[in-house]
């Protein structure tokens, strides 16, 4: 047996967009074990809940993450609405679904770009981000914010989208989808991408289940776990099924995300077709008293917001569990036995969002 050495990876590393530290235990070029450590960007957002009134905390919940911000805000609002027993209008549910799916498109395209960058495919990286710009423009036109939408509130949504804009959004999706298909073809069929990703960082179905992998990391290993199937917002009324791949390697996780782009577009189309008219919010009276675990599906996996009210304007407790935290044990499993040169690609394949994870 050769000598083992420990090599630090991160928190500052060219391939990592955010700070996570991994101690890689190496035997020659092979990674034997990994010790992850976090805590570089902790902001104490959960404690802030005691100092801000519950309707204003939506803005803070949204700023937990800079990519899937809308879904954070929505999940928090869902929790408060359940505690207070508020019936959110149907139209608000559909609008939330549309914006959630646009967030998913934006997040997946961002990730696909970063992933292409991590394997040195700069051209594809720029192409993915060019498509992402279209999604951001739609977000800005409908909510006022490109990344932080701020359009969700307790009891409904802040802004309505008129029928004309909805029709335009549906029309524009056609051209967008055409561009995406061309890009997806490169990710799924190009030999240079496949040779870099096939068989790298394999996570078996059993390991994914035991380690609690969520989102595309779990679905890439054949575990059909998708919180959207619980039917929150308007998902219960739409026809879709989770995208699942069986191989469990980086290529499978990439394929799940690429195919989810088209699944998201389909969900947006269905929502626009079926969106009912009517009110977009209900009036909120009183204060929350009680607790609730609110679940939703982020682009990275299942997100949980726990809220506990004590009958005052200030919540007693808020707890956020983001999918990246859940995907760290599967990441350790994937890295064990891989080559040192594959570490950046494998770390990126779980789509780590550290700012989100440490709140």
């Amino acid at each position: 047996m050769s000598r083992q050495i420990v090599m630090p990876f991160g928190p500052q590393h060219p391939v990592l967009p955010e700070p996570i530290h991994l101690d890689l235990v190496l035997e020659d070029e092979t990674v034997v074990d990994v010790i992850p450590s976090i805590g570089y960007v902790h902001r104490g957002l959960e404690t802030l809940v005691e100092k801000r009134q519950f309707p204003e905390y939506v803005y803070i919940a949204e700023r937990t993450c800079g990519i899937c911000s809308f879904i954070h805000g929505m999940t928090y609002c869902q929790g408060i609405e359940r505690v207070m027993g508020l019936e959110v209008p149907e139209r608000a549910h559909y609008l939330r679904t549309i914006w959630s799916e646009y967030s998913r498109l934006h997040s997946h395209l961002l990730w696909l770009g970063l992933f292409a960058d991590s394997m040195g495919f700069e051209n594809l990286f720029m192409n993915a981000w060019k498509h992402r710009e279209f999604v951001l423009d739609v977000m800005e036109e409908t909510t006022g914010g490109r990344v932080i939408q701020g359009s969700c509130k307790v009891g409904g949504v802040r802004r309505d989208i008129d029928q004309e804009t909805l029709k335009k959004m549906e029309r524009d999706l056609k051209g967008f989808e055409k561009g995406l298909k061309e890009m997806a073809n490169v990710f799924l069929n190009d030999d240079s991408v496949a040779s870099r990703l096939r068989g790298v960082g394999v996570l078996s179905r059993n390991d994914a289940y035991v380690c609690g992998a969520v989102g595309p990391t779990g679905r890439g290993s054949g575990v059909p776990i998708d919180a959207r199937m619980t039917g929150y917002a308007a998902y219960g009324e739409l026809d879709f099924s989770p995208v699942v791949e069986q191989d469990g390697d980086c290529y499978a996780r990439c394929a799940v995300r690429v195919n989810e782009l088209f699944s998201s577009i389909e969900i947006i189309r269905q929502s626009i077709d079926r969106i009912p008219g009517g009110e977009i919010e209900v009036k909120v009276k009183g204060n929350p008293d009680g607790e609730y675990f609110s679940r939703s599906e982020q682009p990275r996996g299942e997100l949980v917001h726990y809220v506990k009210g004590n009958g005052t304007k200030y919540l007693a407790r808020s707890r956020i569990r983001t999918p990246t935290l859940t995907n760290i044990p599967p990441l350790v499993k994937m890295l064990q036995g891989c080559e040192l040169a594959d570490v950046p690609v494998i770390v990126l394949s779980i789509d780590p969002c550290i700012g989100c994870m440490e709140r």
Partner: protein, 133 residues
């Protein structure tokens, strides 16, 4: 599996127009809903302090005695909360971003020029005075 799948897209990108605009020579894209920065109409602000109470980042300070409305541009998260709660609609959201701050604090102080209109004397009380006289 195939090779050079990206070639078609790459050639098109190379020959075609650039996907980005030449900012700042060309102005940035804004929509009517874009959140740029908060502006105040000092002539109609009644110093009620609702914006200060509802600001999630505590960026606004309303001083009733000195008649000032102060905003810290570095703290403001441009969430539109103050604009929504303002009872006299003196706050508006501009679609253009505020220019880069040049001071350490980013504080901007506005002097409120609103003058409370004097209430015309009530018709009943005038009549009563006449009667008493």
């Amino acid at each position: 599996m195939a090779f050079f799948e990206m070639a078609k897209t790459a050639i098109r990108s190379f020959v075609g127009k650039p996907a980005t605009r030449r900012y700042p020579f060309v102005p940035g894209k804004v929509t009517p809903l874009s959140r740029g920065h908060v502006t105040i109409d000092v002539a109609s602000c009644i110093s009620c302090g609702m914006c200060m109470k509802k600001c999630p980042s505590e960026a606004i300070c309303v001083n009733k005695d000195e008649k000032t409305w102060t905003i810290d541009r570095l703290r403001c998260i441009v969430c539109n909360s103050c604009v929504e709660v303002c009872p006299v609609h003196c706050l508006t959201m501009d679609t253009v971003y505020s220019p880069a701050v040049t001071t350490h604090s980013g504080l901007e102080v506005f002097h409120i020029t609103y003058v409370k209109p004097e209430k015309p004397p009530k018709a009943d009380s005038v009549d009563e005075n006449k009667e008493q006289a």
